[in-house]
Symmetry: C3
Subunit: 467 residues, 3 copies
């Protein structure tokens, strides 16, 4: 009986989840009036809404499925899982996120229904991002059923936290650096800590191959290229969107140059070589770092400086902090999400404080209310000052850190339960237990990495035979 549950637990969980989604969306969901046929007297429909939302949504959509999916294929023996589980969790979280966010929506409070429109799809993808970041920290250590449990819990907590940060604290976080990146990363690290086993560290299957690193660059570059859309998608008014695009673009460019520069300096063998880990990951930290303030920053120099700082934090994190945390603190972070999402997210949150405190709010003129709603009129009818808003930005960051660490730690404990299928220690970071694999699987993903040590003796004879 127990073994039957273990055998089928993934299927049971997925079936239960999908039925739950049917029921909740069936009862409470409805299409936005913009997506429903108009009655005869209504105004003529323009293309404006779809035109201004859909292309940015599609960029974000590519980031979730291609970007995160391929970025995580860097493990030489876990490519099937990376790209597939990425897809599975996204589809789970998209539906669950639409529901949770729907329940928190004003429209639901008023009517008992929540609406679906392109913005729902977009914010559902943002919810997926939170979970995919956490997946990066746990990559290769969970069974499919465990990933599903983790995603289910995290989505609910993350979207509730987001609701408080945005609706109560009225913090600005246009690109989600706090509520998406910071949350996802520290949930993941806390989960990794409580779930940790020493066999996870320096495991023989944890590592890349030449081709897997190039696959990973597909994901990295799509994330890099479309990041301006991620940070700008929900920015209003139009000038703020325009600015969010440019700020993100500039931050990423400066971040990339500095990443290459620092990467050389941290070469463990002091040969001044670059590391693909830094190039695929730290170059993206500039997108995270400018995320909270992409609509706030008013001068290109500031965006460049933000990006450059992110690169320093991220590369040093990969080079020194991640190995230290794995070996000394028992926090194994497979993709180094602390360096790509965690610390740059905290940095973004602090920048949110600084820019709110330092910039003269009068510069935002009529759009101040779009960026900092509470600085125009808050619940008590009086407007927040710059420094109060800045403190609420920090409070938002603190809440995100607190909620993510606690819920992540608890989730890690839940995932330890014998109830769930656990990955065999020998098979961490490996597809073989969960995917039908082709005949070359073991050669391509394991043996090929050992041959390097033999070839030096055989090479001569090989070339001799050739000529």
């Amino acid at each position: 009986m127990a073994s039957l549950f273990h055998k089928h637990q993934f299927g049971i969980l997925i079936t239960a989840a999908q039925i739950l989604f049917f029921v909740l969306i069936g009862i409470f969901g409805e299409y936005d009036s913009k997506a429903m046929p108009r009655s005869s007297g209504s105004e003529i429909q323009t293309h404006d809404y779809v035109n201004s939302m859909y292309p940015l949504f599609q960029d974000v959509h590519v980031m979730m499925f291609i970007g995160f999916g391929f970025l995580m294929t860097f493990l030489r023996r876990y490519g099937y899982s990376a790209v597939s589980v990425n897809m599975l969790l996204s589809c789970l979280v998209i539906q669950w996120g639409i529901i949770v966010r729907g329940f928190w929506s004003e429209h639901f409070a008023e009517t008992g229904k929540f609406v679906l429109n392109i913005e729902s799809l977009l914010t559902a993808d943002f919810a997926a991002a939170v979970v995919l970041i956490t997946m990066g920290a746990m990559l290769g250590k969970l069974s499919p059923a465990q990933y599903v449990v983790m995603a289910f819990v995290e989505t609910a907590v993350a979207l509730t936290t987001e609701h408080i940060v945005v609706e109560y604290f009225k913090a600005n976080d246009v690109g989600g650096s706090m509520i998406v990146h910071t949350f996802g990363a520290y949930f993941g690290l806390a989960c990794a800590k409580t779930f940790n086993k020493k066999e996870m560290v320096e495991h023989e299957h944890e590592g890349s191959s030449y081709n897997s690193d190039i696959f990973s660059m597909i994901g990295a570059i799509f994330l890099w290229v479309f990041w301006p859309s991620f940070n700008a998608a929900i920015a209003t008014p139009e000038d703020a969107r325009h600015r969010a695009i440019i700020n993100t673009y500039l931050s990423l460019c400066a971040c990339t140059l500095v990443t290459f520069m620092i990467s050389q300096l941290t070469d463990p063998e002091r040969k001044m070589r670059f590391s693909m880990v830094h190039i695929a990951n730290s170059t993206l930290a500039g997108g995270v770092a400018i995320g909270t303030t992409a609509n706030v920053v008013l001068h290109p120099l500031h965006a460049l400086l933000v990006g450059a700082g992110a690169a320093v934090i991220s590369v040093l994190g990969y080079a020194y902090l991640t190995p230290f945390m794995a070996k000394k603190l028992g926090i194994h972070d497979t993709c180094g999400v602390n360096n790509l999402h965690g610390m740059p997210g905290v940095y973004a949150g602090i920048l949110g404080f600084i820019f709110a405190a330092v910039y003269d709010p009068a510069r935002y003129s009529t759009s101040l209310g779009d960026i900092y709603p509470a600085m125009v009129s808050n619940v008590d009818g009086e407007a927040r000052s710059s420094i109060i808003q800045a403190c609420f930005q920090l409070a938002g960051l603190a809440l995100v850190l607190g909620c993510s660490l606690v819920s992540g730690a608890v989730t890690g404990l839940i995932l330890r339960l014998k109830l769930w299928n656990q990955v065999r220690e020998k098979e961490y970071y490996s597809d073989g237990d969960y995917f039908e694999t082709p005949a070359d699987y073991d050669f391509t993903t394991r043996i090929i990495s050992k041959i390097d040590h033999i070839e030096l003796t055989e090479h001569t004879s090989l070339t001799n035979k050739e000529h």
Copy 2:
């Protein structure tokens, strides 16, 4: 002489086709007035047309070239051909499709000219999709010249069938699930049947490698991500486009979850593993299944249910029907297009019947005529009832099935003619006869899959030497 023709037949066919296109487009083609300089008195041009069509067109364009092209790279030894022949046939069908569709256009009937605009490019890409689906069924079994002949015949028949379904039957098929997916799949299956040789089945080169399956996922995910654009691109009015986007997105999400669930259950070794074939293909069936009714469905639950059903059909098809058809019925379907496009397309057509029959047409209000033109006013001046429209939807499906099966079967017979270069039986599913290959070709695409059986004995010594 005959051997000279055999040697050069591909070049002759391509040259003849390209010259034909020059002549026909040269004589009959012209640019849409929206793409021609305006005379001085005309109104100011807005960006609206390009803005509302071009981004969706580009998504579809990516689906054709990256999506289909990389999806078919899953064969370990046929990657060059998959991605290249995909490109070749697309470029052939795009031009030929513009012409054929142009000849069927109202504008041509009136003026003797057909126009080219962004919609022409978009619908030309749809025509390419028909042929690329068929290519999936025949993948690895045709010479380049045979692919060209097949594409040439199929495009003409498919676009003529489409013309009847849309213009005479006035069936709604906004995402082309009948006229694109069903047609392409059943043309391919009929062609595979009449072209079949027993050596095609269980051929030593038919299979994937670890890297080729990951390449294939690039295609799969781009198809998955941009499918909403495919189903929404030609939907009008704007609310229908908006709805088509959301319906497709939801259908795909539910389809993906259910695909993972069923995939485990069909593991031939009962180890509850996932199959990359299902993940790369069946997850897309939700896009096909909702294609006919993406602009029709008015509740998110219905879209989710449609997608979930598609996954069941598709995975079971891959697991049981495709091997059965190959071994018992002499229908070898390399990519399993029956499971991704064929059965889900028929299912979409039946859903078109159901939704037309069951939904109250009054709900579409003023946009009813955009969705079901004949329900507002038909040729006789009287409007169709719901059930009549529903029957015409079924009639459209039946016509598509009939035309595709007959024309596909005939095409298979044509392709058998000794006139054409035939692939050597030993070299089915292989690039070597048609592409210059690098030095590692045979190792990477053939030998590597055999080493797996040897390494168990050698592995120990390898690791010993290493340490």
Copy 3:
């Protein structure tokens, strides 16, 4: 001391460059008023600007980072460098290009400041394209520091040349075939000539592997699919943009068919096989060839013919000219940029002359001034005739050729200086000296290509053991 400089020269260059960018953008840069908060009295903002620019910009952005980056991964042992250095140089040139172009802008002349907006990002990506094309000619032969020096010099010269061609000659070059493609290619060839060493030719590491050629196709297809956006992004008015899209699309389709046809004929072993080099590169020549006149051509047939011609030039160039130049002229062109960008760019320039001379300018009606500004009113108050405009088109081409060849040759000499880190001759076209590589690096990128010659003897025993 000298050795310390050699060790850190890349870091020093990058740091100096990034600080220079901070200073210059900090002092002289500012955001466009469209990206700054509006004062209270100003008009309501529409989505029109972002909607009409951003999706095309994003397409171009993908072309630079995924397109060029992956196209250059075809070298089996230089994939990390190709995709990473592509990213590095792009980020360098984007910032430097914004500055140089800013200094040449009218707004700077008037106010002492230059503005940043989405068009800046777009034209910065165009500047990156120039350098990435040159990178193609020098691929595998430069150290990171040398690439940086090259990019720095070239950007300044290319953007100055562009300024003269566009502002003084008033030449039309909407898709940048002269100022981007021709410049980048001939700068690269001249640089390759003066930098040449005989060890670069027929080097053992110059070549592809089966997987690297498929990676390369990812880049090729994204370039192919998004090329219409490249040629149309800055076209005005709207009908010209629409036309530029269709012309590019048609030119690419015809070019692709003809590429396949000619590729077979040039098979060195006369086996009528296709070459992946042609398919990944020559199919794109149609985009270059129509680049100068994408907004000019008014009939679809003309676009098709332009594309077909480009394929002939490009494939023959790859088959015969590139090897001849490498062996006899001492011009080694790693990616064959002469065939993809150089000769098709010159051809585009000549077509610019022909179309300007032959088409009746009255056909452009009110949009003549957008396409050929000097044909409406030039500095002297009188309008140019068709033939004068045509000659200025040629003059633009001549200037581009002259400037690119001279500055490229000088740059090649600069790069030879012992001052700079040079790539070891043994390690041309190899990642190993500049990247941390995984354990399978040598096997996957070198040994695997030699095994092909051995397997014939071992294969039988392998299969025997298997069964």
